[in-house]
């Protein structure tokens, strides 16, 4: 009986398993294979000719004498991407936590409405949203114009096509991913625990730091990951708001498959990124997995 049920249940998930297995695992393996091949002279790869050049050239380049010398160009792009993603995550947290906290203190019917508002940006195409930000941020744009109109002579904001513009755009794009998990953990939080903290002499600040924040920590961590990781792979926003001058990992990978015609390097960079993401996920699950279960 149990076996039949289990078999039936397997058929329920089978389409998803096949779909994911085929369309994710196969291309991934293909890319892993590509990353250890020799590059073709006009793009593509020389099938069957193995080479670790892609991974070596992540850190080294060959000088004229064919010696390996350290080249930090790619590393810098990685570091810059991580830095920018971290900055975006911090901005999103600073904006997202108070928002989530405010929503969680509202009556139930209002909460649902506010959460709905938070998700509205998802309804618009990401390109449209980024072009909208370009219009807002450019010199003589809406924000610049408004500041000048108020008598603040900006002499041009000069924000567009800078890392700041990219971070502003990314923060905007990924803010809902910060708000939603934090809201979920705050909503679950037993309000009586906050009352207990007040009762025991904690003022609002200390009730926040000693009770609410620690209990919302899993949600905060989840939110940070949900913002940080997609930020690392952001392509459209740095392309548009960074004006292509400001490269992030995804743009670098894109250019290797495109203009640079170095597929193995593009694939290799992808795997370096994947490895870094997996490591941070493991750190997260190691630190926070146990907590939500205990707090139940």
């Amino acid at each position: 009986m149990g076996n039949i049920l289990r078999t039936k249940r397997f058929w329920l998930v089978a389409p998803a398993v096949v779909y994911i297995g085929f369309f994710m695992a196969v291309p991934l393996l293909q890319m892993a294979y590509v990353s250890v091949l020799e590059r073709g002279d006009y793009g593509g790869v020389n099938w069957g000719a193995f080479s670790m050049d892609a991974y070596i050239s992540f850190i080294f380049e060959r000088d004229l004498m064919d010696n390996l010398v350290v080249n930090t160009d790619y590393l810098q792009i990685f570091v810059r991407s991580f830095g920018l993603s971290a900055m975006t995550t911090v901005f999103a947290l600073l904006l997202g936590f108070p928002t989530a906290f405010y929503i969680s203190t509202q009556p139930q019917s209002r909460r649902n409405f506010l959460i709905f508002l938070v998700t509205i940006p998802f309804w618009t195409n990401i390109l449209v949203r980024n072009y909208a930000w370009m219009l807002l941020l450019r010199n003589g744009g809406l924000i610049d114009g408004a500041l000048n109109w108020m008598g603040l002579e900006t002499g041009g904001l000069d924000v567009l096509y800078t890392p700041y513009a990219v971070s502003i755009g990314l923060t905007y794009t990924y803010l809902p991913f910060m708000v939603l998990p934090i809201y979920a953990s705050l909503e679950k939080l037993d309000h009586r625990l906050v009352e207990a903290a007040f009762d025991l002499g904690a003022d609002k600040r200390r009730a926040m730091s000693r009770v609410i924040l620690p209990l919302a920590a899993p949600g905060i961590a989840a939110g940070c990951i949900l913002v940080f990781i997609p930020c690392l792979g952001a392509y459209v926003t740095p392309e548009l708001l960074g004006g292509g001058k400001f490269m992030m990992i995804a743009n670098l990978i894109g250019s290797q498959f495109g203009a640079a015609r170095n597929w193995p390097l593009g694939a290799g960079l992808g795997f370096v990124l994947l490895a870094l993401v997996l490591i941070s996920m493991m750190v997260y699950s190691f630190k926070f997995k146990s907590l939500p279960e205990e707090s139940r």
Binding site: A197, G201, R296
Partner: protein
Amino acid sequence: MSEVVISARSVGKTFGSGADKVTALDSVSVDIFQNEFFTMLGPSGCGKTTLLRLIGGFEQATSGQILLEGKELNDLPPFKRPINTVFQSYALFPHLTVKQNITFGLEMQGISRKDAGGRADEMLELVRLAEYGDRVPSQLSGGQQQRIALARALAPAPKVLLLDEPLSALDLKLRKEMQVELKRLQTETGITFVFVTHDQEEALAMSDRIAVMQSGEILQIGAPREIYEAPTHRFVADFIGDSNFLVGDLVDGGAGKRAVKLSGGQVIALTQEVSDQRTGEVTVSVRPERLGLVAESDAGADQLTGTVSTIIYFGTDTTYQIDLGNEALLTVRMQNGSGAKADFAEGERVGITMSPDAIRVLAD
């Protein structure tokens, strides 16, 4: 009883507004004394928890004043009141160990970590869970969590400890144990306990005084014995223990006393002082165990008589339902083995004996 610790003066509390307005408390006044185990007893929705939350500072009174040792508390937030609460759900901090839970309140008072730790150990000793300091709340049973909640609330040595139905989540055996435990803790610490419950047995067993509440009002305040033996309202008599209610007219009983004349013509003399202003129809209550049965032939002229309609044997006692006629039923509970003649049969005519001080005239 010595000084007044908590004084509520005409305290009212309404929730909502307009058509949704609900009156939770309607001008309640009560004094709670130093070192007292004070219980607020009533069914759910009677306002007892609201009054407790007003004292704790979790709600703001709509009208009236709450005083702590003569000083008005109304505008003080909960964290500035020397009053701690044991919550119904315990509300232990799940992310802290048992010991950190107990030191929380002490650290908020600015007590050094070391001193707080020492005090926490004392508290764990007091609630007999000395070994459990390093556990987290989810590793404890309900009864243990209850004790930790008590230890946490008692640690900062509050002037008043509020307890919001703290035993309701425990099973019967544990509840009985905790009743004894609570009473012991109150005596040992000398802290005023204000206890909220809907369980009348619990209230009778532990309290120095009980306030019986209904629909946002306090009906009667008194010692358990007084509440039980001399209820002032039908609700009180009915809510606490079992009661018989009889309706009759107030008449002169002679010798400056009043009496109640029942519809059947029997007159019951009263020992209770009843104001001369009261006349006409009144309801009286009498506890089943304060009644006795005799053979009808032994009954006096003024005694109630009736027919035994049901006999239920309970082991320690036997309950007789007596049909008085006029669709009036009276419950008589007689202890078994007390030597009294108790072998009445169903359908037998009996006389009912009652001590005059067992009859209480109730407020309208």
